[in-house]
């Protein structure tokens, strides 16, 4: 399988974990971002979410995931990293993003997995749209990151 990808299909974090397993790894950490049944709107009011979708700039998102993987490998002592993001409609309780990291030691595995999701939050060209009983909206996101300029 491919370690990085963007797909409209349900994610399989177990397959990612199996992919990055390594006989030198003493720790495997996985992260699943899961769609929640409620969300804060722009005024921080908690509202029940009926459906949610993710739109992606697919080719750039794939390229970014690979860049994040390379950056993670260079920053931490890890044996493997894999990450997929889902697009289209995602049911409540299903995963929108899955990450798996293996490392000789647990500290690096935790830190690297956390690094991957933080990078995704700030720089992956993916957008979440939530539908509530009384309307729908694009979720307010991250506009910039250190080193990037706004056009």
């Amino acid at each position: 399988m491919e370690p990085f990808g963007v797909t409209a299909e349900p994610l399989d974090v177990q397959a990612l974990a199996a992919f990055i397993a390594d006989s030198g790894a003493g720790a495997i950490v996985t992260f699943l971002g899961v769609s929640r049944e409620s969300s804060n709107d722009a005024n921080q009011v908690e509202r029940p979410v009926e459906t949610l979708w993710y739109e992606a700039y697919g080719p750039m998102a794939l390229r970014k995931l690979r860049e994040i993987g390379a950056e993670t490998t260079s920053r931490f002592d890890i044996r493997g990293v894999a990450c997929w993001h889902r697009t289209g409609e995602v049911a409540i309780g299903e995963a929108s993003v899955a990450i798996a990291v293996s490392a000789p030691h647990r500290g690096d595995a935790f830190d690297a997995c956390r690094f991957v999701i933080e990078q995704i939050k700030t720089s992956l060209p993916v957008w979440k749209r939530e539908r509530f009983a009384d309307g729908e909206e694009w979720v307010e996101g991250y506009g910039g990151e250190a080193g990037s300029a706004r056009a």
Binding site: H85, K121, P125, V126, W127, W138, G141, A151
Partner: protein, 82 residues
């Protein structure tokens, strides 16, 4: 003159009513010039452009980045993946 393809995502796509548009710009145009052109040609894009980053060749690009004929420039509203 050069012609570039502009890809629009999420709120930008909805504001423009299209996922991609073709734009003609002067030979020495930059990403910043393209955004300025879009503001005039598509006033509804104004608010989202102010919060958006650009990408050229699938990489984030600053306003100073020069554009060439045939380039694809994407307008990326604040991202909310993960």
């Amino acid at each position: 003159m050069i012609t570039i393809e502009v890809l629009l995502f999420a709120a930008a796509r909805e504001a423009a009513g299209a996922g991609s548009i073709r734009v003609e710009l002067p030979d020495d145009a930059t990403v910043g010039d393209a955004f300025a052109h879009l503001r005039v040609a598509h006033p509804a894009l104004g608010p989202v452009l102010g919060a958006s980053r650009a990408a050229v060749d699938e990489e984030f690009a600053p306003p100073s980045r020069s554009l060439s004929n045939g380039d694809t420039m994407a307008v990326l509203p604040p991202v909310s993946g993960g």
